[in-house]
């Protein structure tokens, strides 16, 4: 049903109401789900306009996207809504997906991303998978070919519903305009509740043109979907007893602590019971790094003390984390002496990797708040001192040479440390994936008012630059710094165009070693230094940035470093700082694949 807008406008007044042959279907939906009390007045509009109005009802004001044939009706309507909906045109759909995710991570609201059918939709897949693994709410809207053509291999048709199934929390296809409001309401409800995640709505082109009687009510309930379970007081009591009687307890804080906003509660719990807090990669800003109970980051390139002492702890309190293999190392030799309390909103994560002695299937903040009055005040100086002793070893052997070198090439660590010292305490830090990401994780001093936007579970190279622009748009004036590598930057470097077009004030710190550094490190350590396809011949990034009208400067010496970082932060608008770092440095410490967390390698001398 391809009807021009003029005809549509004429029909609007003629009280043309859509057929109601699927009213039974709508009735069935009503039985399974509940909607809020606020119902907007009935009006007859097109499906495209209904989509935009529904987004506004859900509190959306920013959309990242890329237009194309099938989604043109929506983009056409978007022109009439520019006062309420800001659209950021990226240079690739993948960029829009990552930007929407970063926007969600900074604002706490679901991100929204538009793409057309076929290649537009498939270009989102990496972004969806990335948001899925890191539990970020993003509502993806893709257009689909006309309903009658679906399934016929029509031009730019792809089965995005099928393709996105394993990487979305939920998805749905809309073939009729009247289904749009309720589907959008469900999508937002599912994306942001429980363990958040990406959802996708695929809208046939004719449904965008078709008229409907528009009324909107937010979704508040779906019968088959239980996002939060009530706390079981007996479990909280058991947890408190386990904590009170533990001699060497350790808290492992993950992304869930940040998602549920439990930073203050976590600090209170740690302080009251004197429990060291270790964090995961995505949990880095869950606990301030200058706090005396901060134990460091867990896992493969994490800190020495929390990894080694995991295997000395007698109690592990894991909150909002999922025991990823990068955190646990060899599961058979993980925390052999510890009982495990696992606080996790997703029931499927409890007992998935590490067997929990006590699983608390709830929101991290609720559980910690309930625990707080039941835990006893204690001091555990002996146990805390063990962390400090190992910290000192790590500092001498790794941290100091990496962050305060006096001779030789610039190191990633000293660049990160310098930026960290000069960025604001509430800066939004974004990274790409690889060695520089681990350098940021290790040497950036996060506070619990920082935000970190990084690709954790998926490890998506190319995430950094588009994520940074999304984070800066969402941050509204907050200082946004992205650390990236020469490999990752070039995977999505076209987004410099987006930064140029919207003058997005992103500070880009490129740690250039002219290598795919992390792969090269593994080649050195585990493949006899056979550097297969990891060396890069790079363009002049300063010139590249200049071509996009972005101020840029290259730094090669230690003496200029501080001054260049200062210039970057005092510059108005976006800036690219290209730091030429040591070409063949390794990220240490490291838990080698298959090794236990307590078998951390602090130094690596290389094989002769």
């Amino acid at each position: 049903m391809k009807v021009s807008n003029n005809i549509q406008a004429a029909l609007k007044d003629g009280a043309e109401v859509t057929e109601t042959s699927e009213a039974g279907n709508a009735g069935a939906q009503a039985r399974e789900s509940g909607h809020g009390a606020t119902v907007s007045a009935d009006t007859v509009i097109t499906g495209a306009e209904a989509l935009l109005k529904a987004l506004i009802e859900e509190g959306v004001d920013t959309i990242f996207g890329y237009p194309g044939g099938a989604i043109m009706p929506v983009y056409d309507r978007l022109l009439d809504y520019t006062d309420r909906l800001r659209h950021i045109l990226t240079r690739h759909e993948q960029g829009a997906a990552h930007a929407a995710q970063a926007y969600a991570m900074v604002t706490g609201k679901p991100g929204v991303c538009f793409a057309t059918s076929g290649p537009g939709a498939t270009n989102l897949v990496t972004g969806m998978a990335n948001a899925f693994l890191d539990s970020v709410p993003v509502v993806f809207i893709t257009a689909q070919v006309t309903a009658g053509l679906i399934g016929t291999d029509a031009f730019q048709e792809t089965d995005i519903l099928g393709i996105s199934m394993p990487v979305t929390k939920w998805n749905a296809q809309v073939k009729r305009a009247e289904e749009i409001p309720d589907t959008v309401a469900r999508a937002f409800y599912i994306a942001r509740t429980g363990r958040p995640g990406p959802v996708l709505i695929d809208i046939a082109k004719d449904a965008q043109f078709e008229n409907l009687t528009y009324r909107y009510s937010r979704c508040t309930y779906i019968r088959s979907y239980n996002p939060v379970n009530p706390l079981i007081s007996r479990d909280i009591e058991s947890a408190a007893v386990m904590i009170n009687y533990a001699e060497r307890p350790m808290i492992l804080a993950g992304h869930g602590v940040i998602i549920s906003g439990a930073m203050a509660e976590l600090r209170a719990l740690a302080e009251k019971a004197a429990i060291p807090v270790a964090v995961t990669l995505l949990g880095l800003p869950a606990f301030s790094h200058d706090h005396r109970l901060y134990a460091g980051m867990l896992g493969m390139h994490g800190n020495y003390a929390p990894n080694v002492l995991t295997n000395k702890a007698d109690l592990i309190i894991a909150a909002g984390m999922r025991f990823d293999d990068r955190v646990t190392g060899n599961l058979k030799k993980y925390a052999p002496g510890a009982r495990v309390i696992h606080i996790e909103i997703d029931r499927a994560e409890i007992n998935k990797n590490v067997r929990a002695d006590l699983g608390i299937n709830s929101d991290a903040r609720e559980a910690i708040t309930a625990l707080l009055p039941l835990v006893r005040e204690r001091s555990r100086e002996e146990w805390i001192r063990e962390f400090r002793i190992l910290d000192r070893t790590e500092h001498e052997k790794v941290v100091k040479p990496e962050t305060e070198p006096e001779v030789g090439d610039l190191t990633m660590g000293e660049v990160v440390k310098t930026v960290s010292e000069m960025a604001g305490r509430d800066a939004v830090v974004v990274t790409d994936v690889g060695q520089h990401q681990m350098a940021v994780a290790r040497y950036y001093h996060f506070t619990d008012s920082n935000r970190l936007v990084t690709s954790g579970g998926m490890g998506t190279m190319g995430f950094g630059l588009p994520a940074a622009l999304g984070a800066a748009v969402g941050g509204e004036g907050r200082q946004t710094v992205v650390f990236t590598g020469d490999g990752g930057l070039q995977m999505t470097v076209q987004e410099l165009g987006t930064i140029m077009q919207y003058r997005i004030p992103v500070k880009i710190v490129l740690l250039n070693n002219s290598f795919l550094g992390m792969v090269r490190q593994w080649q050195e350590m585990f493949f006899n230094s056979r550097y297969a396809s990891t060396e890069l011949v790079n363009p002049d990034f300063v010139m590249l940035a200049s071509a996009y009208g972005i101020s840029a400067r290259k730094v090669t010496s230690r003496q200029e470093l501080r001054e260049t970082v200062e210039e970057m932060f005092s510059a108005n608008g976006p800036f690219l700082l290209q730091a030429e770092v040591s070409r063949k440095a390794n990220i240490l410490p490291m838990i080698e694949p298959g090794a236990s967390v307590s078998e951390v390698t602090l130094t690596y001398n290389g094989k002769s």
Binding site: M165, T220, Y225
Partner: protein
């Protein structure tokens, strides 16, 4: 140790739900030995019964992952002893072969099978029972010349669990309480 489990689950009758469920099993390389989908006693709610062979730890993990799907209401995992299950089989055999011995009477009397259709060419026999019983009859009919054999997936009811109706009622109750609470605060 791998053993046989029956996963029975209730889901909203929405398009694509079966795909999402099989994706979870496929990722873990678990083969579905039989699967049956049908409408449950509650309108709009579908019941799926799957038989898989895997370890007790793994079946628990996939059950939780399936239950996490937005459209899935509830998942139950049972070992063979905890359920009463049945399958239906149809055997198409040559009429001449069947009539040549005493098989035709035995089928009805001994094996409690039914004869659905008889022509001069073939006879169709129906039997319901356990997998073993169905296989047994197949072996017996083999000499008569089996032209076609087909059997259904497993259907099962549990010896004990909360009935789905009770479960749905509880969920509705919880929802009403929640909405009342919301209205109270707003």
């Amino acid at each position: 140790m791998k053993q046989e489990f029956t996963i029975s689950l209730f889901s909203e009758s929405h398009i694509g739900i079966l795909s999402r469920i099989t994706l979870i099993l496929t990722r873990r390389q678990i083969n579905i030995e039989s699967i049956t989908a049908s409408e449950s006693a509650v309108p709009g709610v579908q019941m799926l019964t799957m038989v898989v062979r895997t370890t007790p730890e793994m079946v628990e993990k996939v059950a939780r992952q399936i239950e996490k799907l937005v459209d899935v209401l509830k998942v139950f995992v049972h070992t063979s002893t905890e359920i009463i299950c049945q399958e239906v089989a149809l055997y198409k055999v040559t009429t001449r072969g069947l009539m040549s011995g005493s098989m035709s009477a035995d089928i009805v009397r001994k094996y409690h099978a039914r004869i659905l259709e008889v022509t001069s060419e073939y006879t169709v026999v129906e039997k319901s029972g356990t997998r073993t019983e169905i296989k047994e009859l197949l072996t017996l009919l083999e000499p008569c010349g089996v032209l076609q054999f087909v059997s259904s997936g497993r259907i099962a009811v549990t010896r004990q669990v909360k009935e789905l109706n009770t479960y749905l009622k509880e969920m509705d109750e919880a929802r009403r309480n929640m909405q009342e609470a919301v209205e109270l605060y707003s």
